[in-house]
Amino acid sequence: MSRIAQAFQNKKAFIAFITGGDPDLETTEELICAMDQAGADLIEIGVPFSDPTAEGIVIQEANARALAAGCTTDKLFEMVSRVRRRTQIPLVFLTYMNPIYTYGKERFFRQCRTAGIDGVIIPDLPFEEKEEVAPICAEYGVDLVPLIAPTSKERITMIAKEAKGFIYCVSSLGVTGVRSEIRTDIGAMVRLVKSVTDLPCAVGFGISTPEQAAKMAAVSDGAIVGSAIVKLVAKDGKDCVEAVSEYVRSMKEAIAGLDDFTS
């Protein structure tokens, strides 16, 4: 069983996102280990990009901080190789197409496999363009995790059928960021996914409180939290590890109580 599949094995998954290299790569490495210890089931690492068009202001600023601190794709791969010796938690890159394309698609995914990256989420690579990388992902055993959105409607089953790893269900319109309320009928989206695949379906965008995480995880296979964690990193910089651990623990606890009801 793949590491990603294990993250959802008989439990609701708590998925934590941080931007790689924010505030620096040493802190990113410590955060990955600490979040693993605190109960995170899967970690998404954002590959910093100059123009992250699907992100809200919190993660935009994290990208800018990481780049200003000198993070590059090569240094990020080196960090992943190091942290892989310390933890077996599934690691997924969230990256825009351009850092992959300019690095060289083949070289990028070969490095993913060597370093121990289990999957990639590419917000600007819709179903229609996935052949750009899907064959190479398959060759190197890196899962290409697709996104579905509230506007996807009839596209959901088409996307889910060819998904790998898990399906990232975008909870709301707009970009990433904390929201006070999520109005989308997530349950209906998940049911459509489940009608064509056994892959897990995790919900992200807008989740920040334990209550929201529990609510989203109750109708899906897990909750993804990014901006709320990145805010803690922004606030405390290199000293953020303890606060992030505490936050991750509280979020994991909120959804762990749901495990009995796993669909």
């Binding site: 068009t53 794709t73 351009n98 300019t102 600007d124 229609e128 697709p146 707009g174």
Partner: protein, 394 residues
């Protein structure tokens, strides 16, 4: 060629949230472009509102002064709102209206596309919001107020380099926030399919008119068509008609800023590499890791780190040529055309005028150059004055 592709360039590299919106747009466009009623309405707007056809003016003094090829200016600067942008905007906003949208959003660099969009929105009763880099709202103060006069809300974008690329980022983000009632009226032949096609088609009226007007005047086709290139909409509009006419040289003039050997330029073809950004595979100014480079030009409208995918293909196939023009050359051309012909060009268009000054003397008197004068220069007067060390207050 695959749908939405120009060779390997183009495509639809956008968030899933927007996919149904671009599919809906493509379907609507494919329907309405063949709809006689839509075309009648658009032609009426172009003729009676925008003032088309625009003049093809024989620049006799400039021709004599340069002592080579005959120079004609395609006067897109005489269109309502002062640039070629209105051609595309009338088409897209009319399309938005037919699609049942009630709100349009757009990016703008110099403000010409923003002004045109705000104008069409006012005319057709649509809500309008414009995203403009903070640096550009500062250097184009008059255009900001103009858009507000027209009833648009202008957002100054403070992220990234605070210029055109960031305005595009923010408009794309806004579209994902509110996609149901809103159409993103993209201003150039860039972005995800179908935008490069739609904008090209609506701008191609420029080239069709050039052909017809020149045939009437000279009984022949031009030897070269020159246009400035940022994203490349006025150039594509002027070139498209002539792509099959291989005797016609197509020359795009890029913004070289302080020079292509400095890091202060926006010369994508001269200095860029292939990448995937803003919804398209094309050529971009970027570093080895794909981080988009901060670009620079005196011209806010050419201050963009990419180029439309069809231009990238025309460059690769050699059908079109792309040349860099520095700030200094553009400013000199701005002043030259003002004094020689009594026409103040947009500083963007001045890049094409600058290349005509280099090219014409090397050509024969029986040859013809058409320069697409994409916009008028009133908006640039204060910036040119500052460049020359004169402080004036707008």
């Amino acid at each position: 060629m695959k749908k939405g592709r120009y060779g390997d360039y183009g495509g639809q590299y956008i968030p899933e949230t927007l996919m149904n919106a671009v599919i809906e747009l493509e379907n609507a466009y494919e329907h309405y472009k063949n709809d006689p009623e839509f075309n009648r309405e658009l032609e009426d707007l172009l003729k009676n509102y925008a003032g088309r056809p625009s003049l093809l003016y024989y620049a006799e003094k400039m021709t004599k002064d340069l002592g080579g090829a005959k120079i004609y200016l395609k006067r897109e600067d005489l269109n309502h709102t002062g640039s070629h942008k209105i051609n595309n905007v009338l088409g897209q906003v009319l399309l938005a209206k037919k699609m049942g949208k009630t709100r349009v959003i757009a990016e703008t660099g110099a403000g010409q596309h923003g002004v045109a969009t705000a104008t069409a929105a006012a005319l057709m009763g649509m809500e309008c919001e414009i995203f403009m880099g903070k640096e550009d709202t500062d250097r184009q103060v008059l255009n900001v107020y103009r858009m507000e006069l027209l009833g648009a809300k202008v957002h100054a974008v403070t992220s990234g380099t605070q210029t055109l690329k960031d305005a595009v980022n923010e408009t794309m983000r806004e579209w994902t926030r509110r996609v149901d009632d809103t159409l993103y009226v993209l201003g150039s032949v860039m972005g995800p399919h179908p935008f490069p096609m739609i904008v090209r088609d609506f701008q191609s009226v420029i080239g069709r008119e050039i052909r017809q007007q020149l045939l009437e005047r000279e009984g022949r086709l031009p030897d070269a068509v020159l246009a400035c290139v940022g994203g490349g909409s006025n150039a594509m509009g002027a070139f498209y008609e002539f792509i099959p006419e291989t005797s016609v040289r197509l020359i795009g003039c890029e913004a070289a800023g302080l020079g292509v050997d400095t890091d202060q330029h926006a010369a994508t073809i001269a200095k860029g590499t292939r990448g995937i950004f803003h919804g398209m595979k094309s050529i971009f100014c970027q570093d080895e890791y794909g981080q988009i480079a901060p670009v620079y030009s005196i011209s806010a409208g050419l201050d963009y780190p990419g180029i439309g995918p069809e231009h990238a293909m025309l460059h690769d196939t050699g059908r079109a040529e792309y040349v860099p023009i520095t700030d200094e050359e553009a400013v000199q051309a701005f002043e030259y055309l003002s004094r020689t012909e009594g026409i103040i060009p947009a500083v963007e268009s001045a890049h094409a005028v600058a290349y005509a000054r280099k090219l014409a003397p090397a050509m024969k008197p029986d040859q013809i150059i058409v320069v697409n004068l994409s916009g008028r220069g009133d908006k640039d007067v204060a910036a040119i004055a500052r460049y020359r060390g004169v402080q004036i207050y707008e």
